[in-house]
Amino acid sequence: MGAGIVRNRVFLLSDKVYLLDMENGTEIWSYSSPFKNAGRTSPVYDDQLNRLFVVFDKGIIAALDFNNGSEIWLKSLSESPGCSPLLSKYFYVIAKDGKLYAFDKQNGNSIWVKTLEESSFSAGSLAINKKYLFAGYKKSINCLNPENGNLIWKSLPDVYMEGTFGAVDDSRFYSISSDKIIALDINNGSILWVFNLPTSNLTTTLTLHADNVLVNGFKIFALKRTTGQFVWSKNGYAAPYGPITVSNNIAYFGYLDGAGLSALKLPGNYTGKTWNFYRSDLANSSYLPE
């Protein structure tokens, strides 16, 4: 499940796609997959086309008119999605069989398909910066040309990439797995630093904010982007859960077991953009790194 906010509208995907009025939560339209399957990924919104792109569990991609939810095109992946899609010049998504797809946003035509690894049933992660597309899948991190899918480098760090999240800035690609955080040089894939987590944690995500990588494990903590050096940590009221969303130098995050949501004022007075995991940031153009 995922959601976002665009122009005073909230979109979310559960068993169907919903568009809600931000003012009162009332439903404006909903859309069901033609195969009646639900979605666990985050929809993405394209400002130029005014379209919402959704990937359902069985690998069905739908491009919808944002105003009324009408279907513009439908495409199928070879398998269920292995991650939430990514929107840039093209629409990118990884299927669970290791195929990475780039589709034309306008008509859904295939631009290119790249097989990351011949294997089945795994999850991956996608991130993009101004030059490269990064795809984490199983034990590999792949840096590709976003235009044609050509492989620039492939790194095989000792990290199992399933259920991981990646983030990228102009110098480094960061990935978090169940037991460590790594930073790679985006130009050649060499490992710049590794931060070992003390305990296996399946809910970890990371966000890039100011000079730091913000991580939610069973604490919230910050590492220096350049060195991986520990900066600060803060206990949550329970085990932090899900991505950290940052706005106005305040980090918002939820907890496991229904323990709620917290707002944590971050040190400093950083006012620049934040690389939030959360896809709604694409809509207000802060998804890409500053």
Partner: protein, 96 residues
Amino acid sequence: MKNRLLNIVISISFLLLAGCESDNFLPYELDNENLGRSSPDIPYYLWTESFTENNLGYAAIVGGKLVALSWDGSAYCMRTSNASLLWKQTTPVSYD
């Protein structure tokens, strides 16, 4: 007597667990969360709100409002300033 022994065992277990966490996690001398909010280098909580028994996952923020999703298909909209709940919308969700 049994209960007292049990309590002691549980207490010792917790102490051991606490010790393990300190040793295993971030360097203790750098684990600065107890330094309070007087330092500009230390994060501090503005609020924590609990309004659902389900896990809250994704959150999006625009214009001083935050929308959070829980895994039961509910969306919660609240003010970022004080976490006051503006509305809740529940959508059906089924897990295979």
